[in-house]
């Protein structure tokens, strides 16, 4: 036992002396939080719009003014004809062109027809659909307003909306849980796979194996400091999101931390498993980083909801632990769920951890034979 | 011709508060085999790195092949060969590829490279290893190869930093055959080692202890001066007081 503790102590010292890595380790979540919190949003702001106004009358100008006053759009240019659109889109500053037909006011007031077209640049579909839906909404409201001044009509059904769980409609709610999910698994898997593979590459692994330390103790000793580091990381992230974004933890903090610890364990065991497959550090880094980065970012459900993906991805993401953890963490932080709500996901994480450890043990034993 | 090809005067190298080289002064004569002895940690590697242009001195003067280590280190590099403790051959390249690389870097013509490669392989009896990865060769072979690669471009001086670590005495002896050959062809050999028996193979040796040169002469002269039967004994007599200081 004393040997084991001595070994663990050496591993701790090894890590804590490496200032550069430590700084980065804590710098990464901090910057991520800031990035996701302030930068990665999908709110529209000052999207460039071109106006092709064939009527140029009071009403068209008033609609245009309303659009620009909304804050979502920015008048980039006024066109004279449709033939200009292609070049404008190609140059990239104009995201959509709004065309008014000729005799717009007359047709609206006498025939009740509003001839407006929104032509959007589809090469960025998310911008395009936001622009068209925001612009349509504003245009429709404008026209309703104008029409009510001139004509009597009634709107029978009026919906009133309440945005649940997120009164201020801030995007942070979506992303902070995702940041924790992404960072933890990447860092844990990277760190452990590299540290174990390093011993293999230098050749000191053999030295460790012939020492009185049991293999299990070696692995545990290597992994223990990273467990602590990751846990501290989680605390840092939670504190940051609380102080910077006022993101509360609606549910039980203890449950949240416990689930985080489970997730960290899963990440560490994944790293161990990866280290059994790699013989050099470069390989370990490649497998961990490339293998986990995009799938965790895109398929875990925190930026792109899984419900909106083709059905098959429900099954594909089934085997991705981040997908489950995102659910857990969102539920606890935002909905205030308890263990009874998320026991299925928790079980899955635990199962994944045991699977990784099992595979690692088997590969380790076969190597020794 | 006994002109000095390496001239060192009051060379100092400090790392923070630790002085690795403390006012070293010595000459190395053209064509000689100069042994730079000392215990581990005495400052040998530091000095050799300065002479090779891998490290800047803190103060003092040093000239290698007539070039100033401060301002003309790149010219020095054109005229020297170097073999480090780690042998520094690329483990994932073949014998041929390694030689080809260094030949090209030193500006040898393709024909020259090809000719001398075959010559080298024949001499070392490595023809069967031409396309073997360095990583697969035993240490003794790697050493010989590293040395041969270091003098491949026929430099005027070759620096060897602990070249014979980790092999048995017979292999070490064989290695020194190569050094003799190189010296006979006119290459000055500057070799550091902590194996005191290798001192006997050198024309002159210097003994370093705790950053200072405590003796410099031919092996025979040293033995006589200190009344010892081997340079090893000489070293023990000189270096012991300093050794306890270093601890």
């Amino acid at each position: 036992m004393k040997r084991f503790l001595g070994f663990v102590r050496k591993e701790f010292l090894h890590i804590f002396r490496d200032y550069r890595t430590l700084i980065i380790l804590f710098g990464i979540p901090a910057t991520q939080i800031i990035l996701f919190g302030y930068v990665v949003t999908n709110d529209l702001k000052e999207a460039g719009i071109g106006i092709l106004d064939n009527s140029k009358d009071e009403i068209t100008r008033s609609i245009t003014a309303q659009l620009m006053a909304s804050g979502f759009f920015h008048l980039e240019t006024e066109l004279q004809s449709e033939s200009e659109i292609d070049a404008l889109f190609k140059a990239g500053d104009v995201k959509a062109v709004i065309t008014y037909g000729d005799n717009f006011s007359r047709r609206l007031t006498s025939e009740g027809v509003a001839d407006i077209a929104i032509i959007a640049d589809g090469s960025e579909p998310n911008v395009a659909s936001l622009v068209t839906s925001y612009a349509s909404a504003i245009i429709n409201d404008c026209i309703m307003e104008i029409a009510t001044e001139k004509v009597i009509f009634r709107i029978p059904v009026i919906p009133e909306v309440r945005m649940m769980y997120n009164q201020e409609m801030s995007s942070h709610y979506m992303f902070v849980p995702g940041v924790i999910t992404l960072i933890l698994i990447l860092v844990c898997a990277l760190m452990t796979s590299v540290t174990i593979t390093r011993e293999k590459e230098i050749g000191t692994m053999e030295v460790l194996l012939v020492s009185p330390l049991k293999p299990v103790q070696i692995i545990l000793g290597k992994v223990a400091p990273y467990f602590l580091l990751s846990f501290i990381n989680v605390i840092v992230i939670l504190l940051l999101s609380w102080f910077v974004f006022r993101l509360p933890v609606k549910g039980s903090l203890a449950l949240l931390l416990a689930e985080c610890m489970l997730y960290i364990l899963m990440g560490l065991s994944l790293g161990i498993m990866i280290s059994t497959m790699a013989s050099t550090m470069q390989q370990a880094i490649f497998i961990s980083f490339l293998g986990l980065l995009l799938p965790s970012l895109l398929l875990s459900g925190f930026i792109y909801p899984i419900e909106h993906m083709p059905v098959i991805y429900d099954y594909v993401s089934f085997i991705l632990p981040p997908r489950w953890f995102v659910v857990i963490i969102k539920s606890i932080m935002i909905k205030g769920s308890g263990l009874s709500d998320i026991w299925r996901e928790t079980l899955f994480l635990a199962g994944a951890t045991m699977l990784f450890i099992g595979i690692s043990l088997r590969k380790f034993k076969s190597r020794l034979e | 011709m006994n002109d000095s090809i390496i001239i060192v005067r009051d060379l100092v190298k400090r790392f923070g508060s630790f002085t690795a080289n403390d006012r070293l002064s010595f000459d190395v004569k053209r064509g000689e085999i100069f042994g730079f002895l000392g215990a581990n940690g005495a400052g040998k590697t530091t000095a050799i790195r300065i002479l090779c242009g891998l490290s800047r001195p803190t103060s003092g003067d040093a000239f290698v092949a007539g070039f100033d280590v401060y301002r003309q280190s790149e010219q020095i590099k054109r005229n020297i060969g170097y073999m480090s403790q780690k042998f520094s051959l690329y483990e994932d390249l073949t014998v041929r590829e390694n030689i080809l690389l260094y030949g090209g870097i030193y500006g040898m013509s393709r024909g020259d490279i090809r000719y001398r490669t075959e010559e080298l392989l024949r001499k070392l009896d490595f023809i069967r290893f031409r396309d073997t990865l360095i990583g697969r060769l035993p240490t003794g072979y790697k050493q010989k190869l590293a040395f041969s690669a270091a003098i491949f471009h026929k430099p005027s001086i070759v620096f060897l930093d602990e070249p014979t670590g980790g092999v048995d005495p017979v292999t070490r002896r064989n290695f020194w055959e190569l050094i003799y050959e190189a010296s006979a062809s006119g290459i000055t050999v500057f070799v550091t080692t902590h194996y005191m028996d290798e001192a006997e193979y050198c024309d002159r040796v210097s003994v370093m202890s705790a950053g200072r040169i405590v003796a410099l002469d031919t092996p025979a002269a040293l033995r006589e001066k200190w009344n010892a039967s081997s340079v090893d004994e000489v070293f023990v007599k000189i270096a012991r007081p300093a050794k306890t200081d270093a601890v």
Partner: protein, 372 residues
């Protein structure tokens, strides 16, 4: 110069022997693109509505039918009470709750206003916003339909027929794959190239072979260039492979000029690799480099515009993006591939990329020390 060629030949010999990495470099992008590209969409589809109908009238049912038959919504089920419905939302059983109050139809036929209570799960703020606006669109249509139906006794003047037509150029099906493929490809090529080049340099430092180079007359410029060119070639090969996959597997259009795209790619890679080598000067171990690489690539990727259009970012972020090579390349790729933009259109991005390339490469060379 011959020295550079010798060094490059050595690099390729080494890379060629590293079969696992070679395979990873080409297979990983292939696999990930095939799997990830079709997955990522931001469309609003299959939004689940739980209905609490306390009115059970023709009017309420009429609206419910309309919602159910729209392509955006699914009527997930009916709840007996608002409280019950909220529980369902809580356990993620639905995304939207619509409650019709008792007396809904009566209000309307009496000339008043029928008020609906709508609750939207806003954890995904933008999704919620879009769902809400589609919901409004359906309700608007319904409003018009009710008003003109002869069922109602009063004759009302219908609200104006607003034809706001939407057309999407270059991508009329608004296929997200067209957008995501260049993005994912660039991310992969960035990560791979950055890691390959940086780790390579750090490994030479760790194993000591770099010392053997430092002791030769090889110049700093020559060394850095020889460490960049092999990985530049590999990166471009990766990019090409990705584009081919895009064409074959997803039929992504390629409207513009291949040459323009590759011009952008070459300048991009130069800058990226320059940065990687600059950072490698300060890393003593592969682990250190890995973390720093992680740090930078994450920042570049997140701010690149793949998840978030540049128009949505705050000003300071947009300014930062001037030095973000990934953002520029993504824009260039997208513009050239989908819109056929030409060199003059991407001139600004090319300029920035060139500046980045010059700065980072210079930093890499300047910071490299043959002598410590």
């Amino acid at each position: 110069m011959r020295t550079i060629l010798c060094l490059i030949r050595k690099e390729f010999s080494q890379i060629g022997r590293n079969s696992l990495i070679l395979r990873a470099v080409f297979i990983v992008p292939l696999l990930q693109m095939l799997i990830l590209v079709p997955a990522v969409t931001f469309e609003i589809k299959n939004v689940r509505i739980a209905v609490v109908d306390n009115d059970l009238s023709q009017t309420s049912r009429g609206l419910i039918n309309r919602l159910g038959s729209s392509e955006f919504f699914i009527i997930e089920g009916y709840a007996e009470s608002a409280a019950r419905a909220e529980q369902v939302m809580h356990s993620d059983g639905c995304d939207v709750i619509i409650t019709f109050p008792a007396g809904f139809e009566k209000e309307i036929t009496n000339g008043g206003v029928g008020r609906l209570q709508v609750i939207v799960n806003a954890i995904n703020a933008v999704g919620a916003q879009l769902s809400w606006s589609y919901l409004n669109a359906v309700i608007r249509d319904y409003n018009m339909a009710i008003t003109v139906t002869p069922d109602l006794t009063e004759l009302q003047i219908p609200p104006p027929a607003i034809t706001v037509s939407n057309r999407f150029w270059y991508n009329n099906m608004l296929d997200y794959k067209y957008y995501m493929l260049p993005g994912i490809l660039v991310i992969l090529v960035t990560a791979i190239s950055f890691l390959l080049s940086g780790l390579n340099m750090v490994k030479e430092k760790e194993s000591g072979t770099i010392e053997q180079i430092n002791v030769t007359p090889v110049g700093k410029y020559q060394l850095i260039i020889s460490k960049m060119i092999p990985f530049l070639i590999i990166g471009l090969a990766d990019l090409s492979l990705g584009l081919i996959i895009g064409k074959i597997a997803f039929n992504i259009p390629f409207e513009g000029s291949l040459l323009t795209m590759f011009l952008g790619a070459v300048i991009f890679m130069t800058g990226l690799l320059g940065l990687a080598l600059f950072i490698s000067t300060f890393s003593d171990t592969q682990q250190q480099f890995m973390f720093i690489a992680f740090f930078f690539t994450m920042i570049f990727i997140l701010m690149s515009g793949i998840f978030t259009p540049a128009e949505s970012m705050p000003d300071w972020a947009r300014k930062f993006n001037i030095v973000n090579p990934v953002a520029h390349l993504m824009r260039i790729n997208r513009m050239v591939m989908l819109k056929g933009s030409g060199i003059s259109d991407i001139a600004a991005e090319l300029k920035s990329l060139t500046l980045i390339a010059i700065v980072f490469t210079s930093l890499a060379v300047w910071s490299y020390r043959k002598r410590i």
